[in-house]
């Protein structure tokens, strides 16, 4: 199952899905033809670059393909929500809530795997213990922001959902920026000869 997921087929299927959804959106919303044509060109360029990078062999290629597949799924889900709204299958409030929940889930998944990305100890310029702590706290900040964002989008009143989601995301971003500034500063201090 995992071998199939890391092959090129899911990525190809997801990119075809993205292209089909852009065309469907264009057809249902012909007044914004310029926007959809730009989206189609951007997607085409992205797919070309992605397919070129995704041909890499070994673990690097698998990682790139998995990341591109994830990105294609997020774009496809957003396009599907826009299409659902265009076709009047769901109200604007529901699609906005679904979009917020999806963004929360993306934050949770990204934050969950952030501390798992280890670097070679010999290649690190800063204290490995501090880097580990910073990545761990950054991961927790993103996961908590994702939970708050998803919960707010799903359950909070419409007027409160967006500010809560944005506030949670920005708070996590601020924590990550402060932690990385601290890490960079300690790295510079340790490199400076006394």
């Amino acid at each position: 199952m995992s071998a199939l997921l890391l092959s090129t087929y899911p990525l190809k299927a997801a990119t075809i899905g993205v292209l089909a959804l852009i065309v469907a959106n264009w057809m249902s919303d012909p007044h914004n033809a310029l926007i959809w044509s730009i989206a189609l060109i951007t997607a085409g360029v992205g797919i070309f670059v992605g397919m070129t990078l995704g041909r890499c062999a070994g673990t690097r290629g698998k990682t790139i393909r998995a990341s591109l597949f994830g990105a294609a799924l997020i774009i496809a889900a957003s396009l599907a929500l826009v299409l659902i709204k265009q076709l009047g299958l769901a109200s604007a409030g529901i699609t906005e809530r679904a979009n917020g929940v999806m963004m929360g889930v993306v934050l949770i998944i990204t934050g969950n795997y952030l501390p798992k990305t280890v670097r070679s100890l010999t290649a690190q310029r800063c204290d490995p213990a501090r880097r580990q702590m910073v990545e761990r706290l950054s991961g927790w900040a993103l996961v908590l922001a994702g939970f708050v964002s998803a919960a707010a989008s799903a359950f909070a009143p419409v007027t409160m959902a967006e500010p809560l989601s944005i506030g949670a995301g920005l708070s996590a971003l601020l924590v990550i920026i402060i932690l990385h500034f601290w890490l960079m500063r300690t790295a510079r201090d340790t490199q400076t000869p006394s």
């Binding site: 280890v118 100890l121 204290d127 490995p128 213990a129 580990q132």
Partner: protein, 105 residues
């Protein structure tokens, strides 16, 4: 995921992960903290590596271990520490938790 639960079910391995939370450590420094033989400690490290909870790297003559926990695995470790999670059924654990092996003379 079962390999993660198996790895977290042993108190020695949980303590190794707790120690690695402070930063990367050499295999020798980690082993020095436990009253176990080298083969037993190596088996514990192998279980942790198999579960993808630690990464090892050879630096000079020593092997350095560093933590490789996702947020979910980190939370599971905290949960296991708090409630003393142990494996009670299924296949026997190849590495005994009451590590009192006697090293070869």
């Amino acid at each position: 995921m079962s390999t993660v639960f198996k790895a977290l079910s042993d108190p020695t391995r949980r303590r190794v992960l707790e120690m690695l939370r402070r930063g990367p450590m050499s295999a020798g420094d980690l082993a020095a903290e436990f009253d176990v033989s080298k083969p037993t400690m190596s088996a514990h490290f192998a279980v942790l590596r198999e579960a993808d909870l630690v990464a090892s790297e050879k630096v000079g003559k020593s092997v350095i271990y560093q933590l490789k926990l996702s947020v979910l695995e980190d939370a599971l470790l905290g949960f296991a520490q708090a409630f003393g999670m142990t494996v009670k059924s299924g296949a026997p654990d190849p590495t005994p938790s009451n590590d009192k092996e006697v090293s070869d003379p």
